[in-house]
Symmetry: C2
Subunit: 150 residues, 2 copies
């Protein structure tokens, strides 16, 4: 796996992960019990009459799984994947138990830092898809990436 520096990124670059992660019902409920204990994430009956019309994984579970998928792609910045923050994060489609998720990314912008000459920022859109090709999460985030040592 090649480690990438800021100079290796250009807007328009895309990458896709080969890994798929299946969201198991029991894991989704356990994640929700620990972090997002709301009826529509915990219980099929309560979920069926909620806004989700059926059990849905917590969006934070989807976000966490997306991070895992991202770590397993060829997108490997020197110093690791370090998020400075997101300007967009949304969940267009609920994640259901049994869904298999995969991730795709696109570089939107590359900016050297003015105050820190050894690093810069890569703005990236990351999209997470289910097995039907529906986007279940879309985010636009800024990652801190090291410049190539001179």
């Amino acid at each position: 796996m090649t480690v990438l520096y800021l100079e290796d990124f250009t807007p328009g670059q895309r990458f896709a992960g080969g890994t798929r992660i299946r969201i198991e019902s029991e894991r989704a409920k356990a994640f929700a019990a620990e972090f997002d204990p709301q009826p529509f994430h915990l219980d099929e009956g309560a979920a069926s009459v909620s806004i989700f019309r059926g059990l849905a994984a917590s969006g934070w579970h989807t976000a966490a799984v997306t991070m895992r998928l991202l770590v397993e792609t060829e997108f490997q910045p020197a110093g690791g994947i370090v998020g400075a923050g997101f300007e967009e994060l949304r969940w267009p489609t609920p994640v259901r138990p049994g869904d298999e998720l995969r991730v795709e990314g696109e570089v939107l912008e590359v900016r050297p830092s003015k105050s820190r000459p050894e690093q810069g920022v890569v703005k990236m859109r990351t999209s997470t898809f289910n097995q039907w090709g529906e986007a279940v999460q879309v985010s636009v985030g800024n990652l801190i990436v090291q410049r190539r040592p001179s």
Copy 2:
């Protein structure tokens, strides 16, 4: 606990949670091993020479714990806390093992939906603080909230 409808929210309202959650080292490492397996989240030695200069919890762990803290506040919209999406999500300060986190929120905007008369959107800033009062996460998100049945 009173259930709140869209009509119960006004810009400027603030709420704070009484709950604190302590981030234990083993839980932070286990979360990272499952969802964000990067050296600075897994191993003290590797973390000490990383951008974080010491073990840091995954930002997604902080986000998930923030959701748990939010569920335990008096902020209880009818239909649950359902995020339509975020316009901002950032982690200004790393979360360290042993940190105790708490949450505060502020309503920024309240908008009835044009296309769905039974619901609306509450834009809210949520800030997560450590035991030193430093913000470890700040987010601005849009929540789907039901209107009071007429």
